[in-house]
Symmetry: C2
Subunit: 189 residues, 2 copies
């Protein structure tokens, strides 16, 4: 799959302080439920993997009595939109100046490269400075390949990402920019 | 997405009794690891969803102390192959004459319809009578829509499915028939 050339983008200067305390995962889950309900896209959060240590089988019922949370080797969300495979992860950072790459595990970076190579749409949704951006997988990988810094400067995200509007009533419509990075439409609508 | 017309198929008469005790999930996981290693496809089993009841946060370490296994509302495996979204589930049946539809939850059936409508490749891998078949999603749905029985006769699976060869050394190559149902090749190779 060929990604379209980056289109010109205008940036909103607003900083939505109200979003500070929001739960990014809950907002994305809500968007996915909306897409599902409206039959726009099928996108699900993968369950958190756990390592089960001890199971009790009493009364023909399995109860997990000891387990730990494990790390996803892929990204948290994937699904199907307009016949295309899409996958992404949601990342919060408290830093105001850059997105620390320690937020993305090495096996996840490898997986992002794999998805790009196999023709899927892959991206990160990054919350930084109270704003939410969609950063396309190839732009994320380009930064890593062309820089030695351990974090992506906020300026790079602003320049190369797409700011997603969010408000409590309308929710978050991240597919608006998946249409752009996926080549479904070739300019910002 | 249009699925290709059903091709003529010959059936192997062999019944591989050696496969009886095999773990279908382990076989599929092994196939997926092979595809990943050879960079053929990116297909993962989704983690089993759990409902966490109690977590212990002692020593800054989260340990799950009570949880239960929940049901996946989608299918267990999904991923990306040749630029296409693919999703499937693996089902065992002890019955020799039919595949009981109670093996597939109502929300999974709805999900299969959704994936078809959104242009994904979706199927079941069914082990019955010691043999393994790939049954394409549209053929599975057709049976449900055109019949009132609560199980799919073995004959229907033999006629409409694709028998997958399996042996311990070569493993299971289910993508061979995904090439057929996905329209990547238009006849049995």
């Amino acid at each position: 799959m060929n990604y379209p050339n980056k289109i010109n983008k205008e940036y909103h200067k607003t900083i939505n302080y109200a979003n500070r305390g929001m739960d990014l995962e809950a907002i994305i889950n809500e968007a996915n439920e909306y897409y599902l309900e409206k039959d726009i896209a099928l996108i699900y959060k993968k369950p958190t993997p756990i390592g089960v240590v001890k199971v009790n089988y009493d009364n023909n019922k399995q109860t997990i009595e000891k387990a730990y949370f494990a790390t996803q080797s892929t990204l948290d969300y994937n699904g199907l939109y307009k016949g295309k495979y899409i996958e992404f992860d949601a990342k919060n950072t408290e830093s105001r100046t850059s997105f620390p790459l320690s937020n993305v595990h090495a096996h996840q970076i490898k997986h992002i490269r794999n998805v790009i190579r196999h023709g899927g749409i892959v991206f990160l949704i990054i919350r930084i400075n109270g704003l939410i951006y969609l950063l396309n997988g190839p732009d994320f990988i380009s930064y890593i390949d062309e820089n030695t810094r351990k974090s992506i400067p906020y300026e790079y995200i602003k320049q190369n990402g797409y700011e997603l509007e969010y408000n409590y009533n309308k929710g978050l419509d991240y597919l608006k920019y998946v249409n752009v990075i996926g080549g479904f439409i070739n300019e910002k609508n």
